[in-house]
Symmetry: C2
């Protein structure tokens, strides 16, 4: 077995989920994640944790959902009991076919997701971590060979997380202490400002110890004060959203609301998203990608939004973790991330101080605030 699979398992169990002797762990295995499951079981055995392994097969789900004719039971007692008594849940993704449920109706999927809410919440109230094992289907979705995709995934996952967490902590402090955030590009396509006063940034360091539940992670994000967003942003990183490629999306904000939008591809999908509800025209999140192991888009948001040298803005729902205790942030049924490359000819400013220029933070030796 590829030694990187073992390393992945160790990072997941030790750094991300912080599992120790006696922990009751549920490991959720996708169809294509068998080899990672074996490596994870090895580490869990070494740590003296107890293990229940569940099988998360898209083909099984498709069959069950298509067969089902009546209402879905909201919280089956046995499933609820399993997660209520679990300390940690490790979700090992790894599709064998990313479109395996394409012929299940949207209504059925929505009804099942709705019914599954309590179970999802029970799972989310454990120390859960979601990761992914590289499969051929995911390589295909990323437009890569299998070997190329494996290299990509392990570059993203096998980081020096401790050092990265420290660097991200610096950025978090800048955001927490700052009042106004501005992202601006030299070519004039992007110039967006927003208040981030009294908001708390999340250092998403791929560990439950940082309230971060994705492996890989590597982003610092916060919620803007949604009524203060003003200016224009161009998303020059192409993405596939709702099965549609969106290219060069551009949003213009006035008083926090999108007043103009465009794209060179996928503009109908963009419109559909923005018209979901009033909150869908306001920003819920601004995140700065800091995982330099991720250097290209692979059409999987788990990776895309953490790409180094990028900033992403999400229209829609804000995360509670970023908000003051008694305040509710932007509300919406959607949360859609769009990404801008800021690796060259762009900068991030906080209260008029340049904190990143051409992808280099002010604490980097290569930082040059006047560089081109």
């Amino acid at each position: 077995m590829d030694d990187r699979i073992h390393q992945h398992a160790s990072v997941l169990v030790d750094w991300s989920a912080r599992i120790t002797a006696g922990d009751n762990v549920v490991v959720n295995v996708a169809e294509g994640a068998h080899n990672l499951a074996v490596a994870v079981a090895d580490v869990l055995g070494e740590r003296g944790a107890s293990l229940v392994m569940t099988y998360n097969s898209a083909e099984v789900s498709r069959a069950y959902l298509r067969g089902h004719e009546t209402d879905f039971e909201p919280a089956p007692a046995h499933e609820r009991a399993l997660y209520d008594a679990a300390d940690s849940v490790l979700i090992l993704g790894g599709d064998r076919n990313t479109t395996a449920t394409a012929d299940v109706s949207g209504d059925t999927k929505q009804a099942a997701a709705q019914a599954n809410k309590q179970i999802r919440e029970a799972r989310m109230s454990t120390d859960w971590v979601s990761t992914v094992h590289p499969t051929r289907a995911l390589a295909q979705q990323a437009g890569m060979s299998y070997t190329q995709y494996q290299d990509f995934v392990y570059d993203a996952i096998l980081r020096d997380w401790e050092t990265l967490a420290e660097e991200m902590e610096r950025l978090k402090r800048c955001l927490d202490d700052g009042s106004e955030l501005r992202v601006v590009s030299d070519n004039g396509e992007t110039d967006l400002t927003m208040s981030i006063e009294h908001r708390t940034a999340v250092n998403s360091a791929a560990s439950v110890a940082y309230d971060s539940h994705n492996l890989p992670s590597g982003e610092v994000f916060t919620a803007p004060v949604e009524t203060t967003v003003s200016g224009t942003v161009q998303f020059d990183v192409p993405m596939v959203i709702r099965d549609t490629r969106i290219r060069d999306a551009e949003l213009t904000f006035e008083d926090g609301t999108v007043v103009d939008y465009d794209a060179t591809a996928g503009v109908e999908t963009l419109a559909q998203i923005l018209n979901t509800d009033p909150g869908a025209r306001r920003l819920g999140e601004v995140g700065i990608g800091m995982n330099r192991g991720i250097d290209q888009i692979t059409n999987k948001i788990l990776f895309d939004e953490k790409m180094g040298d990028t900033v992403h803005f999400a229209v829609g729902r804000a995360y509670d973790a970023c908000l003051p205790a008694n305040e509710s942030g932007n509300e919406s049924a959607v949360h859609v991330d769009l990404i801008t490359d800021i690796g060259s000819g762009a900068q991030i400013e906080i209260d008029d101080e340049i904190i990143q220029r051409n992808g280099r933070f002010k604490w980097d030796p290569e930082f040059d605030p006047s560089g081109v």
Copy 2:
């Protein structure tokens, strides 16, 4: 997908496990049983049951067991909670390598099995059914091509269970009403008698409605009064027991105890079994195979002991279900089945009446009590 997989799923869910709307079902999927899991999910969806699917991978178990260094937790709370709240457990066997745990020490396996006792009991207190999906590894163990093995498995499983259950009920009544059972072969190799007075036979009709938990099943078995077994039996059906081929084993009983034994192959293993404890030298079970879909040995006891035209005797532990309420039967740490072909030149007698001759029961049109 082979339509027989769908038929298998329907038999399992409807005939064997009797699952209805609202049931909380755990489906335990072996590495090689994915396709059966998909078909079972389809039927469970149709019935409106709720589903948790667990992954039973021998390679995962091997990794976990080899990694583990301390004592095993006897009953992890999350696993216990899952089974306590389950109505049914469907165990879908299907190894990809029947020797996948060959390099786990016997001590470790035994310690894990010992710790797992409460979980096993919680599972056994549901309406559980164990079945198997044909895999290449199981075909290999049976010495068959994959296609040949698939045909074999579905011949065994896709029976007219209702009709077979009625026929087996007739045999059960003969055994329940009888006092003395004799199995005798024309060639004189086998002539064994035993009391079955006050013992209750089990009609193992592959359904929880018959307290039968294997699919396929198709045997009627009871427990002899262990001190009354007398005579000799030759087991002419070769079997692999404890990784050793045993051929032409022969046991001679006096006053219920084996006083002489032999075999043309595997005699050391036979000795090892018989010397486990005093109960290992007495009979715990006599069973009559009635599944005519099973016509050869495949080195998997789930199938072997149900083969039509055979009788099997198990040395060791007796099943409680066969015993009078306040009586405990033969006690032993082992329960090892050995099989004799009685399809020709042999008969079964109850209280001196021939109830089967040359594989035909007294109610069969072809029954000929004096046939050769």
